[in-house]
Symmetry: C2
Subunit: 224 residues, 2 copies
DNA sequence: CAAGAGAGTTACCGGTCAGTATCATACCAT
DNA sequence: ATGGTATGATACTGACCGGTAACTCTCTTG
């Protein structure tokens, strides 16, 4: 079956990332597994897992593959994370934190100008969906993959999306839209649609028009 | 791990579906595994696979689970389908056929009235995303799950979405939109967004406003 | 120098995965 | 009756799954 190709042999990508070996010969203080520049096992595992989960999918990636990509072993993974499920949840929690950090930084660049804030958000989204390596929204993808109702990641996902929706309502209200909740939901649908569409029709698909679509909807709502 | 819960014991849902046992006692020509009313193994397997793939996800469902749900064995599955991957592709091919059959039937009910055709399409979509058991679009979900570039299902998915996009352009052109391709893409984003959003924010999420969103965009484009 | 923490190594557990081989059983058309 | 066809039943393969045990090594801190 094509689906499961997790052999340790053919899935290692570029785990020499943290090894910094200087062309074969050992350089006193920079080569080997014990190296000051080298992040600890936990960080390497977390980084490897984040990349693999996003690019190949959660269920497609086994813990052994993650460990290999992080240039360590399964044991170190289980010394730092209670389970794969929790590692997944942790990954999404960090994504959530990064997302809001970026969002807030962006918003604070246009204080009291909700129109520009929304424009900036869609510009950022447009940039993301223009990246051919991107594979949509990690949260939404995880929701598709993890169908078990009580998976620890589901709480994270639902909270994240609910917060996003609320923020959009807030901004739409500040913009003075007559139906802020409606406009917010419409913008939400555009965002989600753009992310998921890159995975079927790619960067030349409808996703590239997401910013113009948002502008049309906002204008329509404000001129109402 | 929560992810893989495919034990034969706790995953069988309601495979008595085709058995039609009349309250315990055998009724001459309607009970047992050999029964005229009972579909053949291929159909049972295909139906079971369709339901399980959609509700639980493709990777979450093993062939043994499918066979059990169809009240047969793995051997019958492999006698009728070359592999699980091909079964998945076949499932999506049938979904594509059904989709366009519904679509065309709907369109032909409003000949030469593209506005009503689009309205009907979004009404149907709205109805679908209002079903709490629905789990978005099988095609888009499969695209999220199947990241391997050469999986046989990917061709089906991409063709399906490309055709949908083209149809939308066609209708938007007939509607007389000034920028039919742009409007089509915007409507496409709304459709995809609505489907995926049900999996994170449910039926009370932004998806329920998808029809109104479409109307706003269309109006905005026509009054341009 | 000693102690302890962090990490690497190897082997293993029970279970599930997709896919196959083999034999038996029931039906239908001739 | 007979032979073909579809199906059922069971056992199996080799690989991978998530997760654990036990031991060693090395570096850092006191």
């Amino acid at each position: 079956m094509i689906l499961t190709g997790n052999s340790l042999v053919n899935q290692r990508l570029n785990m020499t990332k943290y090894l910094s070996k200087t062309n074969g010969q050992p350089h006193p203080r920079s080569l080997g597994k014990r190296n000051a520049n080298r992040p600890n096992a936990r960080k390497r595992i977390f980084d490897a897992a984040s990349e693999l989960f996003y690019l190949k999918g959660i269920r497609a990636v086994g813990v052994e593959t993650i460990a290999a990509e992080a240039d360590t072993t399964k044991m170190s993974l289980y010394r730092n994370f209670p389970s794969k499920d929790e590692l997944v949840a942790e990954w999404l929690r960090e994504h959530d934190a990064n997302f809001w950090q970026t969002w807030d930084a962006m918003s604070s660049r246009h204080p009291k100008d909700p129109r520009r804030q929304i424009k900036a958000a869609f510009a950022l989204l447009a940039k993301h969906v223009a990246d051919p390596k991107a594979r949509g929204c990690p949260m939404a993808n995880a929701a598709v993959e993890l169908t078990e109702k009580h998976h620890p990641a589901r709480k994270v996902i639902e909270a994240h999306k609910a917060k996003l929706r609320a923020r959009l309502v807030q901004i739409c209200t500040q913009m003075g839209a007559r139906e802020p909740r409606l406009l917010a939901d419409e913008l939400f649908l555009l965002m989600e649609g753009a992310q998921v569409t890159t995975q079927t029709l790619g960067v030349r698909g409808p996703a590239r028009n997401v910013a113009r679509a948002a502008k049309m909807l906002i204008d329509a709502h404000l001129l109402l």
